[in-house]
Amino acid sequence: MTTAQVIFWVISAVVLVSAVLVVASRNIVHAALWLILSLFGVAGLFAVLQAGFMAVVQVVIYVGAIATLIIFAIMLTRRDMREGGRQTHRWWPLPALMAAALFAGLAWLLTSLPGSGATPPALAGDDHVLLLGQALLTPEQYVLPFEVASVLLLAALIGAIVIAGDARK
């Protein structure tokens, strides 16, 4: 095994173990902390793939914004942050089945896609961030999805302001 493979296996193990602990830990703040570790691991995987931009954005968005807000929501809403209730639901085999089916479907889809398993062609040029930026704003490539996502986020932003706005007016 090469060094890169060893690093990949170690990080994957960290991601998977902490992902299991997210659902298995009884303390809900601990679950959020394991989630953060898992998301950091995913960022590490991106870094191993030399996708530095994706790695950093993963940390900024998932750890910096989403996980922090999850912890904040827990702190604000739970009177006692030590979870005492049952960990499982009566119907837990059903979602487990659905999750397994989803995983199998995704795995099948990814392996049956044309070109999967082949080494992707090397990117032209050294500055991958520049290439990504150009790809996002080129009409032949991803400008439409990019703009649609932007409009969706803007709508969500305005919606949040309207909901949180002063109701007395």
Binding site: I36, T68, H128, V129
Partner: protein, 398 residues
């Protein structure tokens, strides 16, 4: 005379060559060298906290017409060492009901979040931990660790004042991250590079503080809030919530937060110098690159002095003022600033850097005048409303 050119760089090359000659393979020597840099850089950063604490105490003392530390050693220089010995011998208390692991993890994260920033600061042309091509985003990503650390410290201590401090943290640090990121985008926009070294190289002619003074001001205010020092020290406001998030910490765990805060402030100064004051550039760096580190530290210390000055002179602001200041002034200003500068920069992309900087400066000044006008009119309207509201009930009661 010994040519100091590329001192740090040639030191690295020499050390790697030595390892290869000692029988290591090329890649192993490189990995060992990287590990060495990764170990030395944080140590160096932690060491700078010692003179910083002395310097800040002296500055604060002079600003308050006091002498500051002056008993231990000449000019009180050894005061910090005495304090260190004292803090090492203090009892380490973990309160009952605290979440032990998280309680111990929080101070570590607080310091790690600051030390991580040092990895990408270019100290001289060839002296930096790594030159990430996403350096600026990396700064934002690492900065989230400090927020996390304070939240965890506040939650795990099982103390309501600590938890209140943690709540304030979220309100403040996450809010002020928005104008901070917006101000970071301006050097990226003007230099066309996300890497810190590219940003420094783009400032060889004109520093960005001259072409985008408003962005520099945004950075200054937002980073002061991000470090959460006075006037933004709401998370440890002693007159309201005793000591805030670190109330239950004692001994070296408290020392970690303390050192982390000082170091974070200075690191923000270094970043400000890198992003807006030309980093390591200065007269004579082309022939003596080691001078660059000196320039960077001098520039960073001057920004740090502004932080200390603000800390010594401004009273702590209220929490509603703090949030209004961010969401109703800094964030909209940043959102207007970026498209304006982008348009001006694009329109003059073919002309000389001096003309372009002058035009950018003009755009900044116009925007600043517009902001001051709006603020003035709004303040006037608010005063008029307050005056009429105070007048009417008084008339009706008679």
């Amino acid at each position: 005379m010994v040519n100091l050119g590329d001192f740090f760089y040639s030191l690295g090359i020499w050390l790697q060559g030595l390892l290869v000659r000692a029988g290591m393979s090329e890649s192993a020597a490189h990995s060992l060298f990287s590990a060495l840099v990764a170990a030395v850089l944080p140590l160096l950063a932690l060491m700078t906290a010692i003179p910083l604490i002395w310097l800040e105490r002296k500055w604060i003392a002079r600003l308050q017409d006091r002498m500051g530390p002056n008993r231990v050693g000449p000019f009180g220089l050894l005061q910090v060492f005495a304090d260190m010995i004292k803090i090492f011998t203090k009892e380490d208390i973990t309160p009952r009901g605290a979440d032990r692991v998280v309680f111990a993890l929080a101070p570590v994260l607080a310091v790690a979040g600051v030390l991580g920033l040092w990895a990408v600061i270019p100290f001289a042309a060839n002296a930096f931990g790594v030159d990430l091509n996403v350096g600026v985003l990396y700064l934002v990503a690492v900065g989230t660790l400090s927020t996390l650390a304070i939240m965890l410290a506040g939650w795990s201590a099982n103390n309501k004042y600590a938890l209140l401090g943690a709540f304030r943290t979220v309100a403040q640090m996450i809010s002020y991250e928005v104008p901070l990121v917006l101000s970071l985008l301006v050097p990226v926009l003007l230099s066309g590079s996300l890497g810190l070294n590219g940003i420094v190289s783009a400032q060889r002619e004109v520093w960005f503080v001259f072409s985008a003074p408003l962005a520099a001001l945004l950075f200054l205010l937002a980073s002061q809030a991000e470090v959460s020092r006075a006037p933004f020290d709401l998370l440890e406001a002693e007159s309201e919530i005793v000591a805030g998030f670190n109330i239950e910490y004692s001994g070296m765990k408290f020392g970690f937060f303390f050192v982390g805060e000082f170091l974070h402030s200075f690191t923000m100064g270094l970043l400000g110098a890198t992003l807006f004051l030309g980093g390591w550039t200065g007269p004579g760096v082309d022939s003596y690159p080691a001078l660059g580190a000196l320039y960077l530290i001098l520039k960073g210390t001057s920004i740090y002095f502004i932080f200390v000055w603000a800390r010594a002179t401004f009273p702590r602001i209220r929490i509603d003022q703090m949030l209004n200041f961010n969401w109703k002034l800094l964030t909209p200003l940043g959102l207007f600033l970026i498209p304006t500068l982008a348009l001006v920069n694009r329109a003059l992309s073919e002309s000389s850097p001096w003309l372009r900087s002058a035009a950018l400066l003009g755009a900044n000044i116009l925007l600043a005048i517009a902001v001051l006008l709006i603020l003035g009119l709004r303040g006037r309207a608010a005063r008029m409303r307050a005056a009429s509201a105070a007048h009417v009930p008084a008339a009706s009661t008679r």
